[in-house]
Symmetry: C2
Subunit: 432 residues, 2 copies
């Protein structure tokens, strides 16, 4: 009853320090809630002698991961050191040594989750990764516990704080992508190499984790259709606004009645009054549509030291409970459905298309001939004189069409001599 | 390890039947997640012979609550029968017989929670009531677990589905309160006696439960400032819309740095682009602002048989885990702070005021004299000719003032001979 649970903490950056602080500040409360003590026995750091503004008395600092993984006293390993390959190796080793793992590492989980999770189940240990998906939002818990007795049909959300910060600034302050990215980097919202965020990969990793949990299947990162935000221009935002839309980087995961799945991350136009259109700056929000519960939404800070540390501590408490219940490994949601992906013929949505065309009689008819041939019809059309000589700019929003219909139409459109350029096209969603 | 947990289910209406169905459909999954079986031993009904479209084979139907409360085999009692006094007695008796309780009854919890919760802690049993606050939203769990290591500063939300349905219809279809209420009653969204909902009491009960949990104090229903939606007219909605606002029934609970609390439920004008302004129909949403985590929001169906039943089952699973961990009663959030309430002098907010005045020279000066004397200044003023002879209608939005400043101003305003009538006034919130 009064056994102490020993923790090995790997990483002592912002999140790691936050975890140490929360466990210290809430020691009594945690003991009361769990019926046992939780104590950090060892901490993996890269430099033992570095000066730190956190009290780690009672914990042994080490630079040797093995001394943590192989310590028979340690029950749970908290991984907040980042990295991919080495970290994956460390986690795998730890599982093989029967350690439970709590991690904030979405990269490792998206790339190696399909290997690590069944391995952990096999070894009867827990792998919890709530903090990896959306810092302050308990969405994994909700999917695996609260909504577990429901059939999830669709999820849709903003799961990357950096790109949402950039898009919010671009729209509100009418500034182009480049300078806003620089500002985000200076503020620490974007990394020196921003590609993982701005090219949509980070969001795609999170959508993979969410979709596998919600649909109980085994999607990989490469199953996600990804498009980032680099090519979004001020003109795109302006034209979208003229039609009543806001552009957000939206992740969507859907399963149909036949169990066929589609997952995508791409810039998407949402009606201004759509709740996700109102999610600003670095905030994240995810809609979950379940058969029984209906629509629920989770909203909160997408990242940040304290939200992430809070989430880690919740996971640790869950793991401790499971240790004491003897049900470790049971939290793992076993994939029940073989992966079945929709083809582009089966993916239906609306699109926003911008193109520059000759401003001459007959142009419009040539365009409509192509679209009609592919059975693509339009909900909104806007034609404006372009700044350039004798050209016009056309902005269209289609009715629901398949990705294949769109692709075929655009191929033919680009071959028309009256079309100078297809400037951009984006998904449109959130309308009834 | 393979002990069975026995349940006594009190009530077999929509929610009760939903609970039976979920426990049947997910039997294996629940057993796997808990490491033990959960079985409904007895069900309390008012008529044993009533025909039901649910399979209750294996459970004993009874009309005698004592046979459940005093059954030594039964560990957990699920209370979904409604009512107040008798139900409170039943719950208290059950606690004294060392039964854990899972309830959807916000009335009993708001009125008697301060007595039942410490009693339960004393008897080392759990009382879980997630389903009582907002059917499909796991907000109590979030406050008592996930956000437990944070200091909650403010909560703001829509916590009553009936009034939100009515206000949505009134605004979208420009119909008055009466007929919309009738429609809501026909659709089953409002009860035959709608006063608990439309007068704001139901929302006030929920805000009491949320505030006590978040601020760890002992507020009572009578500490909540309550105003319902009966008096909201189509003109109020129209004038609010002209100024860019939507009217919602909003519950707000705040604590300041000195630990002084204010809790209110009242019609409130929110900017149209505020996320809560977008919450439609019977949906609920609650913003939680914590010191560490920042802003999080929970959104979902406010009620409904299946969401509520899903929430009940989650609570049951939590109680079962606690039984097996031997930590029942520990989930109770012990009040740590003596109740301290703000006075009306200390409650600051903006107000929207509509009045009918003489359309003569000098009227406006008389008004501004009064307001200036009370140091009330305005952000927005709109004057329109009224339909009536020689009167005008004035709509004002104040800057932040205290409730006392407002009251004193309005008292003097009503004494002015040029003022025919103060038509309405509402809180304004959600602006920076």
């Amino acid at each position: 009853m009064t056994k102490t649970i020993h923790i090995g903490l790997c990483g002592l950056g912002t999140v790691g320090s936050g975890v140490v602080r929360i466990l210290q500040d809430h020691r009594d409360q945690i003991k009361y809630k769990l019926g046992c003590e939780v104590s950090i026995k060892k901490i993996l750091v890269s430099d033992i002698h570095k000066k730190r503004d956190i009290n780690v008395i009672g914990s042994e600092l080490t630079t040797d991961p093995k001394s943590i993984i192989q310590d028979p006293d340690i029950d749970i390993i908290i991984e907040v050191m980042g990295g991919i390959e080495k970290t994956y190796q460390l986690m795998k080793e730890a599982i093989l040594h029967h350690k439970h793992i709590v991690t904030a590492n979405k990269d490792v989980m998206a790339l190696y989750g399909q290997e690590l999770l069944p391995l952990a189940k096999d070894k009867e240990v827990d792998v919890f990764y709530e903090a990896s998906v959306a810092g302050g939002i308990p969405i994994l818990r909700a999917l695996s516990d609260g909504l577990a007795s429901d059939k999830i049909q669709k999820m849709m959300g903003i799961v990357n704080g950096t790109t949402n910060f950039i898009l919010t600034k671009m729209a509100d302050e009418q500034r182009p992508f480049g300078p806003v990215l620089e500002e985000a980097q200076q503020l620490g919202y974007a990394e020196a190499d921003p590609s993982s965020d701005v090219d949509g990969l980070d969001a795609a990793r999170k959508m993979t984790l969410l979709a596998n949990l919600a649909f109980k299947t085994t999607l990989e990162l490469s199953d996600v259709q990804v498009k980032g935000i680099r090519s979004i221009t001020q003109e795109d935002l302006t034209f979208a606004a003229k039609l009543g839309y806001t552009i957000k980087l939206i992740g969507i995961a859907e399963v149909n009645d036949e169990g066929k799945v589609e997952v995508s991350v791409e810039p998407t136009l949402l009606p201004n009054e759509h709740p996700l259109a109102q999610v600003k700056n670095e905030y994240n929000a995810v809609y979950v549509h379940g058969e029984a519960v209906g629509e629920t939404m989770f909203y909160g800070p997408g990242a940040g030291g304290l939200p992430t540390a809070t989430s880690i501590v919740s996971d640790v408490m869950e793991a401790v409970k499971n240790v004491r219940l003897g049900i470790n490994g049971h939290a793992y949601v076993i994939p029940q459905y073989k992966k079945k992906l929709k083809t582009d013929k089966e993916k239906f949505m609306k699109f926003f298309i911008r193109m520059e065309v000759d401003d001459t009689a007959g142009t419009f008819q040539k365009l409509t001939n192509v679209f009609t041939g592919e059975q693509v019809s339009f909900a909104k059309i806007l034609q404006l004189p372009s700044n350039k000589n004798q050209t016009a700019e056309i902005v269209m929003v289609t009715h629901s069409v398949s990705r294949e219909q769109l692709r075929k139409s655009l191929e033919q459109i680009m071959d028309l001599s009256v079309v100078k350029k297809v400037i951009s096209y984006y998904r449109v969603d959130g309308e009834e």
